[in-house]
Each structure stands twice: as C-alpha cells, then as structure tokens.
Amino acid sequence: MEEYKVLQPFKYFNDHISVNVRPDGRKFDQQRSIKLNANSVNTADASSLIKCGKTSVVCGISLELATPKAEEPDNGFLVTNVELLPLCSSKFKPGPPSDYAQVVNNTVNDILKNSKCIDLKDLCIVSDKLAWVLYCDIACLEYDGSIIDACLATLMTSLKTLSLPHVIYDIETEEIKVDVNIRHPLKVTGLPVATSFVIYQSPDSNVALMDPTSFEEEMCGGNGANLVVCWNQGLLCGIHKFGGATLGTDGHKKLLNVAKERSKTIEEVINTCIANETSE
C-alpha cells in the first residue's frame, strides 16, 4: 500500500475519494482531533501549543515598549511572524522566509486585523510617547496541512491569556516604571476561527475536504489549502479562495455552514483550555 502511494499518488488518492473516504480514513467533512495547551513556554509573556492531527504549531508572545508612530500616536503595535522552518517538513529549506511562509503570515495577519478583535488603542499607554509592542512569534513544529487554522487558533489562545503589566510613565522626567506584579488582561473581543478546505476535482463532481493533510493539499494543486473561511461571532471576517478546482453556489454555501459549525467547536475548545489554565 505504501509503495502504491509513493508510485501512483494521484491514482491512490482518487481511488480513496471515489469510494467516499479519505486516505486517513476520515469522512470529507470530518476534522482531525485537536489538542491545545496554554502557557506552554514559560519564558514568553503568553504562549500556547496546538496539535491538529499531526500539524503542531507553537505561538509565543513577547512584550516590548516603544514609541508609537507619529501618524498613529494612539495605536500600539501587533506584529505577527509565522515561521516554517526546515524542522517541520522537508518542503521547507533553511534561509530567508519562503514565499509560502510569507503568504501564511499575511493571511493570518489579515484575518486578525479584519476581525478587529484587538483594538490597537488598548496597547497605547501614553499617547505619542509610549505603547506596547506585541511580538507574536508563531513557529510550526510539524507541518501536515491546514496551517492557517492552527496558527490562528494558537495565536488567539495566546492573546486571550496575555496580561499586560502595569506601567507608570512620568511625563516630565520620561521615566518608565514597569510593575510586573500588577497585571491586567488584554481586551479581546470575539474569537476568529479559520477553517481550511481543499477542493478536489473528481470526474463526477468537485468535492471539498475539510482540515486537509499535507498530502491532500498536494493532490489538490500544491501549496496550502484552496479555501479558508473565517468566522467570528456569527460574522465572516475573511474568505480566501486560492485557485484549485472551482466551486458552484450550492457547494460554496454548504462549506460556509460547515465552517460555521466547526468555528463553534473550536471556540469551545479554546475557552475550555483557558478556563482550565486559569483554574490551576
């Protein structure tokens, strides 16, 4: 069976899809099991680790103080950085971030911005003088598809557990005092959840597979998922479709609903994880 997969990957994949099953035994709209853990990295100000099937992604947020930009004196900064190191898959080579890593980073950043779950004004301490910078470093440890879903889930968990230390700023002497013992949690409104699909062009009709693995992504046009739907509290905050097979109206509508259902599940997972973490 393994040899068949290596020698005839397309035929192997098609044989599975034609009998309505995916190579790993899942149904078309079935997701992989999720394991989520908050505060897994002690040296970061907030962190979390997610495992969706074999995809595992860790996110750490570190805080820094900086002067706001002159054109936006009331806004702090939120910088996301997604790293796809050679560690996570043989697809990625060492060196500067690959095009794909930049695309993933851009998509995650866009979703976060569009959902407006973090008000950058909350990160400002003194207008035009002092503001927080949130460096959100997201590193992939193992790559097996649906990377955007995992990145966003771990990023949101980290942001929800983040608390900012109390800062006293003396305007006259410009002296900064940070009291790490007094912390207030960062205000996060809503919880955007992304759901990835690949769309496979089978002879009869196009089928959509939820939460695809790396192999499934490869079979459906190469890099990454074909469709990423992002729900946030009953509203859509990003629909990205990248190439792949085309989608009719009915199929499209169905996928939006499937993603909506999944977003509720993921939301529950994240909230339970945070509740467990704080009660400990």
Binding site: D99, Y100, Q102, V103, N105, N106, T107, D110, N114, S115, K116, G221, G222, N223, N232, G234, L235, L236, C237, G238, I239, H240, K241, F242, G243, G244, A245, T246, L247, G248, T249, H252, K253, L256, K260
Partner: protein
C-alpha cells in the same frame, strides 16, 4: 433577461492595449478607472531541472510594485495570481517547461489586484497559451449604510466597512479565487457573490471586444 440585468451594473471604464511590448510572447496594458497595470507573459521556456514538473508547466509570477521595494503583501498578490492562472492555463500541455508572468504596477487608485488579474488574463490570451477558460475579477465594497457597491472607486474603498473580490471562470461562472477584507454577514456575502457573478459578464464582453478588435479574421 441577462441583457436587462447587465444594465444595472456599471464598471469603471476599461481601456486596454494588447502587444504593448514587442519582445515578450504576450503582453497587455489595462486601465480600469485610474488603476493601470502592465503584464508581460513569456513561455513556455526552458527552466532549470530542479523546478521542472513532470505533470505540468511551472508558473512563475513576479509582481513589481510602483515603489520597487518588495513587501510581504506583494508575495501574497503573486500567490493569488499564480494560483488563479494555474487553474486557467492548460499546464499539462507544456510539461517540464516554465511560464513567467511579470507584472508592473503603474498606477494604483484602488482595486489593484482585480485589475492585475484581468490584465494577466488578457496578456495570456495575447500570448496564445492554451487555456481552460478565461477569468474575470470583479470587486465590490460594503459601505457604512450597508449598500453594496460594484467596482468601487478608491474613496469608496477607503470608507468601506468591507471589500470583497471574486474571480470567476468563463464557462460555468464558478468561483475560482476570492478574497476579502473587513467583517460582513453571510447574507451580504451571498448577495455580493451573485451580483459580482452577474457583473463578470461585462468583463467577459470586454475581453471579447478587445480580442475581436485585434483579430482581422474574426473581427
């Protein structure tokens, strides 16, 4: 019925010139409103063996912004265009070769990416590469009052709560590529999708007119 529907939509004036560049295999310059893009297509070319694909042609998209400095969002644009073209081009006819699409942004007054996709499609038509279908990109914006504006101007994009862009194929009018900014409800999305789908006919008609005007036999 369709004729009537089309009257409801108005796109920004489109001006196009094919064969704008002499040395490339296919080129087009397209202005949609005040946004202007120049695209050149070269291929099928010989490429180094490591990037050759046994199954189909390898696409390379290079996007040069007006400022010249490459940014992360340029990579994103390249990715969107590459994936869109990959579905449009009959790549399996040109295995082990490369196709290079070079895009130069000339003016950006809103809706740069849809204009780029339309211009790329025209350049591909001009280059004579075999294609499964042509593609048309249409954008729409949701203003604060909740109205949908098809093919918004730059001002309308700046004040909009959400913008949505769709790319349709010419055969079934199915969704090939889509991307959005801002937050919006499901109903709004469905309406935007349907209206853009109808408006895409205008773009396809424009393609037909342009190709006919350059072709002495059909014209």
């Amino acid at each position: 019925m369709v004729e009537e529907d089309l009257k409801d939509f108005k796109l920004k004036p489109m001006k196009c010139e094919l064969n704008f560049l002499n040395k490339s295999d296919g080129s087009a310059i397209l202005a949609q409103g005040e946004t202007v893009v120049l695209v050149s297509v070269n291929g099928p070319l010989d490429i180094k063996s490591t990037s050759q694909n046994m199954e189909k042609a390898t696409l390379e998209v290079i996007f040069s912004s007006k400022g010249g400095k490459p940014t992360v969002s340029d990579r994103f644009k390249e990715n969107v265009i590459r994936q869109t073209c990959e579905t449009a081009i009959f790549g399996c006819l040109y295995p082990r070769t490369g196709i290079t699409i070079t895009i130069q942004e000339l003016e950006d007054y809103g809706g740069l990416l849809p204009t780029t996709i339309n211009c790329t499609c025209l350049a591909l038509l001009n280059s004579g590469l075999a294609m499964r279908h042509v593609v048309a990109a249409v954008g729409c914006a949701l203003d604060e009052a909740g109205n949908l504006i098809i093919d918004p101007t730059n001002d309308q994009i700046q004040t909009a709560t959400a913008t949505m862009y769709f790319v349709f194929d010419s055969r079934e009018k199915n969704l090939v590529t889509g991307f959005s900014t801002g937050t919006f409800g499901e109903g709004v999305y469905d309406e935007a999708l349907e209206r853009c789908r109808a408006a895409s006919d205008l773009v396809f008609n424009f393609y037909r007119d342009i190709v006919a005007s350059y072709c002495n036999v059909i014209g």
